[in-house]
Subunit: 212 residues, 2 copies
DNA sequence: CCGCATCCGGGGCGATACTG
DNA sequence: CAGTATCGCCCCGGATGCGG
């Protein structure tokens, strides 16, 4: 991208991360520390492969992303954020927070969705209201690969992979599942919206923002 | 700009403010509450007039910017941020903070500069170390119209207009003046870098981050 | 299959000129 | 002062190819 040619910190930032898709690539690398090229493609529906390759090269040159050759069992190159790249997370979160009202409106026709994008609302809205019950986890599916939201010692955790032995499994369309996570919907309301829950329901209410 | 088509808060944000020049327009409107079209053009060197008009239309449609017909003495339309637009300021500041290291390196050849862009570093780095001395202000010039940095009751203020009766006037190239504001340079060092100071020097040291 | 490189078409963007 | 109009280019989207 062409530089703005302005001696201003904001313009300098946008010179590096202001072009199309760039911040979304940072999002994916923040959600999953070690990402392969194909992981990124799956998490970035709509991006073209040439553009992804070009952006990764630019971000590497800028010192935001590092490329590593993974150890033998994996035998592939992985991408990860550098320290400087992780410094972008506050900006990433501020931009994300601003978009929440658009999420409340629900998806537009044709909008893609990924379970792992629940990471931000999970960490922002959920709380562990019953740390004394010991660690637990629930599995969430909104169409693609399941993700795992956990509670342990009062902290809420997020893992973009399936749970082992989840206490509960929640599945449904993104808008309704998000409604549960943000507290905009009760479990009963979400059931009417087509959300299904298997297992121990209390593992979910334990995390909900409005739970007693 | 084309939508990313992702049901994700970050993607939704970028659908609105992710296109070129948009965040810089928000920056200008944040620096000066009521901006005329030509004010914006002056603060956005490099933007073309058609693109500025188009962006303002888009931002107005998105509810981020409001267009008002100014009261009779001015007789012109002014642009300002809406409440929703002001909600972008945290994201703006986070992005700005990330670019500070590039400022430390100094401007690239051809970089434009505006005094009012000092607002962020002024508010981020300066402190009022002597509120008991009463209100004061200094005028800063780095090439274009002067701006005013003030201290009052322990707060640092910024006004993108000339001071009335400034206690001191500081002028020089952007990099050196910025060095003073961030504490990376002492007044003596900046003088060697070509910065000139007129008036009461203590009005400046009162504000510097490393001052005793 | 993974990680790209290449080619092509369209639209966002840059530059200039012009107008109410 | 506050834009509109026009043209050209390059970034980006879409498809395919290709070496490891």
């Amino acid at each position: 991208m062409k530089s703005y040619g302005q001696y201003c910190a904001l313009a300098k930032t946008l010179d590096v991360v202001g072009s199309r898709w760039t911040m979304l690539i940072i999002r994916e690398l923040n959600l999953q520390e070690q990402s392969r090229y194909t992981d990124l493609r799956r998490g970035l529906p709509g991006i073209t492969t040439n553009l992804l390759a070009e952006r990764l090269r630019e971000l590497e040159a800028a010192g935001v992303v590092a490329r590593r050759v993974a150890p033998p069992p994996i035998a592939t190159t992985v991408f990860e954020l550098t320290e400087r790249g992780r410094d972008l997370v506050p900006a990433l979160e501020a931009l994300t927070a601003w978009g929440v009202p658009y999420m409340v409106e629900g998806p537009k026709p044709g909008d893609e969705y990924r379970s792992r994008w629940l990471a931000w609302p999970a960490r922002a809205f959920l709380e562990d209201h019953a740390p004394e019950d010991g660690p637990t986890s629930i599995e969430v599916r909104v169409g693609d690969d399941p993700v795992s939201i956990g509670a342990e010692d009062g902290h809420v955790t997020f893992d973009p992979h399936p749970s082992e032995e989840p206490a509960a499994i929640i599945a449904g369309d993104p808008h309704a599942v998000l409604g549960i996570l943000t507290g905009a919907m009760t479990l009963e309301q979400s059931r009417e919206a087509g959300v299904t829950v298997e297992g121990d329901v209390s593992a979910i209410t334990r995390l909900q923002p409005n739970a007693a």
